[in-house]
Amino acid sequence: MRASSSGRGVALAATLVAGVTLLPLVVVLGDALGAGDAAARFLLRPRVGMLLGHTAALVAVTVPAAVVLGTLAAWLVERTALPGAALWRTLLLAPLAVPAFVSAYAWVSVAPSMTGFAGSALVTTLAYFPFVFLPAAAMLRVLDPGDEEAARSLGLSPAAAMRRTVLPRLRPALTGGALLVGLHLLAEYGVLEMMRFQTFTTAVMQQYAIGFSDVSGSLLASVLLVLCLLMLTAEVVARGRRRVSRIGPGAQRPSTPVPLGAWTVPAVVLLLVVVVLAVGVPVATVVRWLVAGRTELGALAGDVAPVVVSTVGLAVLGALATLVAALPAAWLLSRRRTVASLLLERATFVASALPGVVVGLALVTLSVRWAPGIYQTLGLLVVGYAIGFIPRSMVALRAGLAASPTELSDAARSLGLRGPSRLVRVVLPLAAPSVLAGLVLVALAVGTELTATLLLAPTGVDTLALAFWRAAAELDYAGAAPYAAAMIALSAPATLLLRRQIVVAR
């Protein structure tokens, strides 16, 4: 197939985006390489081994835990006769409305002894399993039960039928979700700082808080980059090459829910415990702080309102910019899976494993030297958000575009539809729920971003996350509570939109 001119344009756009997301890497690697012999001395220390051990242990526990929990919950909600499935669907997405560091703050105040590895693994699993639940549930819901039944009729056991027909289809959703969880763990700061669990990212933050040369920070960040590359490669391998879109004759029908029987009670209890731990504890804690500090509430409302406005504005701008940035590579990859298109997509993931402070400082360095006009502007901040959160958009978009296979586009073309109208009339309607999910996921992330915002935002811009962190760092529970409550309240409707991705997917 010859590349059309519009195809070249898309490829150019994707290359440009990949280039911009790689800018922070250039700065980091430049610093790190400039360190010369000192680099080896710095990295081959027991402390770096400890950081590596901590980071690896967290990934090794939280990623599988989130995948198992997310998949199990998705299966219970979408494929079994679980009582109140619709309610559970909403509740299991609700953790996305609670910023992870708010959750950690609540847990630390409820159970001060629960710090270190155990607390970190618990809070990150509870906060991030929806990244797996969401795509898995969406996929399970639309999956035609026909294949599974055919497999059963050919003599396979229920488990084997599931393994050979359902799991292969779930694979992109699961590996994509697992990748998001893993990348978030690499760059997680707030939770781990509060849990007093040191990883590469908390160590990088320390370097910037205390060191006057950012070489050490860049060296630590380089290790994060290597870990990220390992993760990306693992995901490509795990995802496999099989196509998962369904083009068959006839309408598909809903699957018959699996009766749970005696397992109903344990299943409900399991989900209840998950929801209570992930949402109940932080929300109840925030409410308790609000009530305890109610004398100041009236005065605080005036302080909180403008911060809400700027946070929502940034979240929406960041989400739109990130979506636009992710579109070319996601589109290319859904049409032609070549090494080049895969590289363009993967490239955009790499910088997201860098802590926000590294991306922020790299953009400060670059803009001060080469583009002083954009320094401390809203535009640069939005670029920073796009670099950090493009995977959220990419994963959602890829799932959405996979649902509208090339054949449909080709059919539309043969019926005389031109490029743009094909996009609007064929591709977008099928991909819309995923596009929306991508927007919401990025908006949620931007709304709770801390360190890049602090460095890049125009002077005078305040966000809910910054205000919360300011109060939280001084353990001022009453002062932090209104900002935490506002973040949760704003995020709740956004997660309801995500729920539509599962429901509308049919």
Partner: protein, 350 residues
């Protein structure tokens, strides 16, 4: 069938449309409002501050009220903000820089980015509160203290010197927050007073023996909660908590090392004017105001419990007089932050 499809499509697109329209609505709502707007105010004096937000804002508001000069505050942390100003160089939008501890200011000073502070301003602070270069001035001060849990340990059992905490007897029994600029200043003072070898050994002991917390307040709370008997911190967090609900320091008391011990180190918060400022006169007036009796009274009244550094301005009556703290004879203007970082790196703390 057709109609139904359209309806579904419409429904699907509605939230998208709402999302797409929101920025317009947001910008329409926020038009003109300085707080919610995204635009910096170029006419306002740009104050880069890593000092506590409430103190900085109190100064900025009082200054604007007195002089009519608008200010805009950019918040940050000591080291990264100092680094940021150096990175910005002559193009820095900052007019004034305020720090929590002096090492961050020293970095900017060594990069040659500070303008000499007006003599009037230097004359307003007590002797020894500005470097001989006259490139910046202290604006507040804080003392190192040992906070201890009165249920877990008696005053007689406390160490007589901060250096004693390196003793294996203190293994797992002391807390510190070595990941912040506050602690770095304390170690810089120790390095100047005790030399490289002793400081390095002490830091190695810290890496092995100490319980590490996020910051001063977390350290204090941990001591109060009985997680650990003693902790190193700055004095003012404790006085602030005691003046408030005492929730984070209920079962604690403070121990001052005194005797010119490195543990009695007094750290200076700095204020400087950027040489690249496009409002140099206003910036000098700001610093003059901050160090004036009125400005120092703003500091005292802010409840931050930091020491005032202005002549004839009394700090909060709850505080022991700064002259009686027995601080070590360390020149706060030659503290070597880089050396501290490499010692802490060698000790495996960073």
């Amino acid at each position: 069938m057709d109609g139904r499809t359209n309806l579904v499509t419409l429904k699907r697109r509605t939230p998208l449309a709402v999302l797409l329209l929101t920025p317009l609505a947001v910008s329409a709502c926020s038009g003109g409002s300085a707080e919610a707007g995204f635009e910096p105010e170029p006419d306002a004096l740009q104050v880069y501050s890593s000092q506590h937000r409430n103190v900085t804002e109190a100064w900025a508001e009082a200054f604007t009220e007195e002089t009519g000069i608008p200010t805009q505050v950019r918040e940050g942390q000591d080291s990264s903000m100092g680094q940021m100003i150096v990175e910005e160089g002559d193009a820095s939008p900052a007019d004034v820089f305020l720090t929590e501890n002096s090492p961050a200011m020293t970095v900017v000073e060594r990069a040659g980015l500070l303008a000499p502070v007006d003599d009037v301003t230097l004359g307003q602070v007590r002797d020894g509160m500005a470097p001989s270069s006259g490139d910046w001035t202290a604006i507040a001060a804080r003392s190192t203290v040992l906070v201890y849990n009165t249920e877990l340990i008696t005053e007689a059992e406390l160490p007589t010197s901060i250096m004693d905490l390196a003793d294996p007897a203190w293994d797992g029994r002391w807390a510190a927050a070595p990941g912040g600029a506050d602690f770095q200043a304390i170690v810089a003072g120790m390095l100047a007073d005790q030399g490289e070898e002793a400081t390095g050994a002490w830091l190695s002991a810290l890496a092995e023996n100490a319980e590490v917390y996020q910051n001063n307040i977390a350290t204090m709370n941990a001591v109060s909660a009985g997680e650990v008997p003693v902790g190193i911190m700055y004095h003012y967090y404790w006085y602030r908590d005691q003046a408030g609900d005492r929730e984070g320091s209920a079962d604690t008391a403070l121990h001052y090392f005194g005797n010119e011990d490195p543990g009695a180190f007094v750290s200076l918060s700095g204020g400087g004017v950027l040489a690249s400022s496009d409002m140099p006169d206003e910036a000098q007036r700001f610093l003059a105001y901050v160090t004036s009796p009125a400005g120092q009274q703003v500091l005292v009244d802010s409840g931050s419990m930091e020491y005032a550094v202005g002549r004839d301005v009394a700090s909060d009556p709850a505080l022991p007089p700064v002259a009686e703290l027995g601080a070590p004879p360390v020149d706060p203007f030659t503290l070597d932050a880089d050396e501290v970082v490499s010692l802490m790196t060698d000790a495996g703390i960073l």
